[in-house]
């Protein structure tokens, strides 16, 4: 796997799953990167920059999510998104 093509798994630890607030935080984080980013769950992959896509993924607490990124800042992108998910979306604001 090269630097511009990243894929990791992370488990979702957010009491009520990927509902509107965490989905919004996740999409906002993804939008900061120029890479294309996808979020995978349950055999489906959606655009991680779209809150609507993330919501339709409907991932409950405890899900294993797949983060894929392709582009020049792919490594940073997956790292940041993983940190957000592992930090239980506690980035206030």
């Amino acid at each position: 796997m090269d630097e511009n093509n990243q894929e990791i798994l992370v488990s979702l630890d957010s009491e009520f799953g990927l509902h509107a607030r965490p989905a919004a935080l996740l999409a906002r984080e993804a939008q900061k990167f120029s890479s294309d980013i996808w979020l995978g769950f349950d055999g489906r992959e959606v655009d991680a920059k779209s809150i609507l896509d993330i919501l339709t993924l409907a991932a409950p607490n405890g899900s294993t999510l797949r983060i894929l990124a392709r582009g020049s800042d792919a490594q940073d992108a997956v790292r940041h998104i993983r940190r957000l998910i592992m930090g239980r979306f506690e980035e206030k604001g």
Partner: protein
């Protein structure tokens, strides 16, 4: 007899009697399907785009009006704004206009219905219900499409507001002073409406079946104690509820009127009642509610909500200003109590399977001495005011405490060498919230000026439960014999060493728990400002003898059911009013 009685879930106590105002954004905007010509597709798409952008403008305006204390609501509105900005949402509807050659309203409906389908497959009930967020956003766009956005903002007289659901944006737009109660069809205990109603102290019921049958202007009684709406009540019901409403209001005003009196039992035992606060702006609430100082100032807020770290100067000014406003009362500042997970951005990626058992509070500070010493300098400099105490969270044992003290003293020496002013007698204490600290409390007590027992964490760590995990939250039992014995042990150990012991967890604001704490002769309690008047009132009506007797019996309990029963009996007999108007952590 009433015409009808509707039932729901009570989420905020109180009684309201009056006319209804039925708020329904969809009411005059029933959506119908209209086929359009191919030539009209761009025009229809424009309407859609325009409606999205107007709805977005609206919501952004509302977002700006949200006060800081409603952080939770702001986050939800932010997610609604993200939804409106999401091109996919608009494009999904736009595609339907083009493909099916239909009007924008119907296309929007179809796009929402696709999302609903995706959501309906979800097993988890909470997340399935979050389709509400998409619906609320779609409602805003729909009312823009109709060119007549619902305007719930103008009432001429105070009303009981009924609605299918209340979004955070709705509640901010509404003239809240004109609303005497809420009722909604959807929602559970965690719904927005409930949170807002409780913070405004107005009665509210959610999850009311059959609410949509009601109309504007109907005369009802809303019972926020039992979760009932009595439609067109009979004379007997009206008389009963008018009396209950009067009693409750009388009770509340009496409680508030006497909140500045000391918390002293009939037989002369005094307990100090302080406030827990997080925001500077809460100081007014401390004073208004009869708080005798600030027993816990959570310093985390200044470290969140930002990309960089606060400077020492910023923190110093914050602490100094707070101390001078509350002077001559005391201000206990707790050093940073955050997990690595919360301010990860400045400190590199963190991988912790169990953040609650990981690098947090004092452990995090010790790992980042630069940051910790910066906060210590700010607190010490502010201490020159003379009314500040410092408190370290999550101390696990002797070695850790001695190392923290060493850091603290080295900062003091530096300031002294630099001829910087500070209070050399500033009291220094620790939070006792880990079972290990409880067991060595006698040793720790010799090293500090005071203890403050943090029951929220103590319960979590003693019973081994994550209290935010709904599968085990039923085990969160403040009256578990292990918890009561732990608290008693810490109080005794502290008194043995001649230091004061305080308690600052939620238990301190629970009317069922306070008599037991008094029986232990705890020196002070610290609680959220709004709960202070009621708790002071209970103390003022109790005697130390009965509190000691209750404590003795409860400590002999073999299990939590027995403790709960004993406490409920006492409260039932001695404080029936409290039982009627209060909620407790203690399960039935």
């Amino acid at each position: 007899m009433a015409k009808e009685i509707l039932k729901g879930i009570p989420v905020s106590a109180g009684i309201a009697i009056g006319k209804t105002y039925y708020l329904n954004r969809g009411e005059n905007t029933s959506t119908i399907r209209m086929d359009i010509d191919k030539g009209h597709v761009p025009e229809e798409k424009n309407r859609l785009r325009e409606a999205f952008s107007l709805a977005l403008n609206d919501l952004e305006k509302i977002r700006k009006k949200i006060p800081r204390e409603l952080k939770e609501q702001a986050a939800i509105i932010d997610s609604h704004i993200m939804l409106l900005k999401d091109r996919k949402f608009q494009n999904a509807a736009g595609d339907y206009i083009r493909k099916d050659m239909i009007n924008a309203e119907w296309a929007l409906e179809k796009a929402v219905s696709d999302i609903e389908k995706a959501f309906s497959r979800i097993e988890d009930e909470y997340i399935r219900e979050r389709i509400q967020d998409v619906r609320l956003v779609a409602d805003r766009v729909r009312s823009q499409l109709h060119g007549s956005p619902a305007d719930p903002g103008t009432f001429t007289q105070r009303m009981i507001l009924l609605a299918p659901d209340l979004s955070p944006a709705d509640t901010i737009e509404l003239q809240l002073d004109k609303i005497m109660a809420f009722a909604t069809i959807s929602g559970g205990k965690t719904s927005h409406a409930g949170i807002i109603a409780r913070s405004l102290q107005i009665p509210a019921i959610v999850g009311v079946e059959g609410l949509n049958e009601l109309r504007h202007g109907q005369f009802v009684i809303l019972d926020g104690f039992n979760g009932k709406i009595i439609v067109e009540p009979g004379e007997d019901e009206l008389a009963h509820y008018t009396e209950l409403k009067y009693q409750f209001e009388e009770y509340q005003s009496q409680v508030n009127r006497n909140c500045h009196l000391p918390a002293e039992t009939i037989d002369g035992y005094k307990i100090q009642v302080f406030a827990n606060i997080e925001l500077f702006e809460e100081v007014a609430a401390v004073i208004d509610n009869g708080g005798e100082g600030i027993g816990l100032y959570r310093t985390e807020y200044s470290f969140l909500n930002r990309d960089d770290l606060p400077t020492e100067e910023e923190l110093f000014e914050e602490y100094r200003d707070l101390a001078s406003i509350i002077y001559p009362h005391k201000l206990v500042i707790r050093t940073l109590d955050l997990g690595a997970d919360k301010i990860a951005s400045q400190f590199g990626p963190i991988r912790e399977a169990n953040p609650a058992l990981g690098l947090r509070a004092i452990r995090f500070c010790r790992r980042h001495p630069g940051l910790f010493k910066m906060q210590l300098r700010a607190i010490l400099r502010a201490s020159a005011a003379g009314n500040i105490s410092i408190m370290f969270p999550m101390i696990s044992g002797m070695q850790e405490l001695l190392e923290v003290k060493k850091m603290y003293h080295s900062v003091r020496s530096e300031l002294k060498a630099g001829k910087v002013d500070f209070d050399p007698t500033m009291p220094m204490g620790i939070m006792v919230e880990l079972p290990s600290a409880v067991l060595v409390a006698d040793l720790l007590a010799r090293e500090v000026d005071f203890f403050s027992i943090g029951t929220n964490d103590l319960i979590q760590y003693s019973l081994g439960i994550d209290r935010t995990n709904k599968h085990v939250s039923y085990l969160y039992q403040p009256l578990h014999p292990a918890i009561l014995r732990s608290i008693k042990h810490v109080v005794d150990a502290g008194h043995e060493a001649g230091i004061e012991v305080s308690l600052c967890g939620e238990v301190a604001s629970d009317p069922y728990c306070v008599p037991i704490l008094m029986g232990m002769q705890i020196d002070s309690i610290s609680l959220n400002p709004q709960a202070i008047p009621g708790i002071k009132r209970i103390v003022r009506q109790a005697t130390m003898d009965e509190c000691k007797e209750l404590l003795k019996r409860v400590l002999e309990s073999k299990d939590v059911q027995e403790s709960n029963r004993l406490v409920r009996e006492m409260i039932f007999t001695r404080f029936p009013e409290e039982l009627m108007f209060y909620t407790s952590l203690i399960e039935e």
